[in-house]
């Protein structure tokens, strides 16, 4: 389960660049609050992804506040594809074990 927040963030950033608060809101909306963790926890994850070259950051000023916008790098896109594939395999395996009708 440890890769889920990373997968969620990379997936959101694959559509467009976003800043931290926007990402946290989008995660809440998309997951209907099922991924509930302190919103501040997003930042160590984002900074670590940046250090690993998965996302790039740029700062911009909006409404008198500095915002750091994140976007996906080529490496990040590869990582997203990999995590998505892993997730689908895991999900299919779990569905099979549980006898999900979608795999019946």
């Amino acid at each position: 389960m440890s890769g889920i927040p990373e997968l969620a963030v990379l997936s959101l950033l694959s559509d467009r660049e976003m800043y931290g608060y926007e990402i946290a809101r989008a995660v809440k909306i998309v997951t209907r609050d099922s991924l509930s963790l302190g919103e501040g926890v997003l930042y160590p994850a984002l900074h670590a992804m940046e250090a690993r070259g998965l996302v790039r950051a740029r700062s911009a000023r909006a409404d008198g506040r500095v915002r750091i916008y994140y976007s996906l790098t080529a490496q990040g896109k590869k990582r997203l594809a990999r995590l998505t594939l892993d997730w689908r395999r895991t999900s299919q395996s779990v569905d099979s074990i549980l006898g999900s009708p979608s795999h019946g």
Binding site: Y19, G38, G40, V41, A45, A48, A51, A57, R65, V66
Partner: protein
């Protein structure tokens, strides 16, 4: 204006060994996120007080944030991963390399002006002052500057005192054992420039005094800064 909670977060992140660049970014972004959460809560009709409480709750505690940052090795400062290299070896190498470079430059200059030095006679008091200036710069100012620069770096990174302490003592002892001799007299034998490292039983008290003065003067600001931080943030 940054909330006191974020000042404490900054301090806790630095103490946890997170790179200062990441700390600055973290505080900037988390503070901005906090303000937006307050706006969002106020927009829902909460009072400012309730909005702040809810925003704190949604962000998570400082302790949790620090744990998450500390768990990411890629966000740790290099100086915290290799403190021995950063605060002992690196200052020593810097001191030796730059001392050597300064001395070589003096020799190079003396060599360049050798024909001129053959033609002039330098008064004894000028010879003495040149020698004294070289000694002050190379044996006092420069080692102090290197030791103090690494002490400031250690303070900014909140590194445990023992590492810069070892580095400062090593540089101070080395500087106290070093001798520099710049004798420019002019005339047929225009002078000599020399340097060496040595110790004798006779000069031991002098070496030790020099080392102690250098070490204490470089260490005092670091110690005072760390004491102030401990008092302000009530940490050990």
């Amino acid at each position: 204006m940054v909330d006191q909670r974020f000042n404490e977060l900054r301090e806790a992140l630095l103490r946890a060994g997170v790179a200062p660049r990441s700390v600055r970014r973290a505080v900037l972004e988390i503070d901005s996120h906090f303000q937006q959460l307050i706006d969002e809560e106020c927009g829902r009709g909460s009072s400012d007080h309730d909005a702040r409480i809810e925003a704190y709750k949604r962000l998570g505690t400082n302790q949790m944030l620090v744990q998450r940052y500390a768990a990411r090795p890629e966000l740790r400062a290099w100086s915290r991963r290799r403190p021995g290299i950063c605060f002992v070896l690196l200052p020593l190498i810097t001191y030796l390399l730059i001392s050597g470079a300064i001395l070589m430059s003096v020799v190079g200059l003396a060599h360049e002006f050798e024909p001129y030095l053959h033609r002039v006679h330098i008064a004894p008091h000028v010879t003495y002052r040149i020698d004294l200036a070289a000694r002050i710069v190379l044996l006092w100012l420069f080692p102090w500057f290197v030791a103090a620069a690494f002490a400031v770096l250690a303070y900014r990174r909140r590194v445990a005192l023992r590492w810069p302490l070892i580095g400062i003592i090593v540089i101070s002892v080395l500087a106290s054992l070093t001798n520099v001799d710049v004798t420019l007299t002019g005339g047929p034998t225009p002078g000599q420039v020399g340097a060496g490292i040595g110790i004798s039983a006779q000069s031991l008290p002098e070496h030790m005094t020099r080392a102690a003065i250098l070490a204490l003067s470089a260490l005092a600001p670091l110690w005072l800064g760390m004491r102030r931080l401990r008092r302000n943030y009530n940490v050990n």
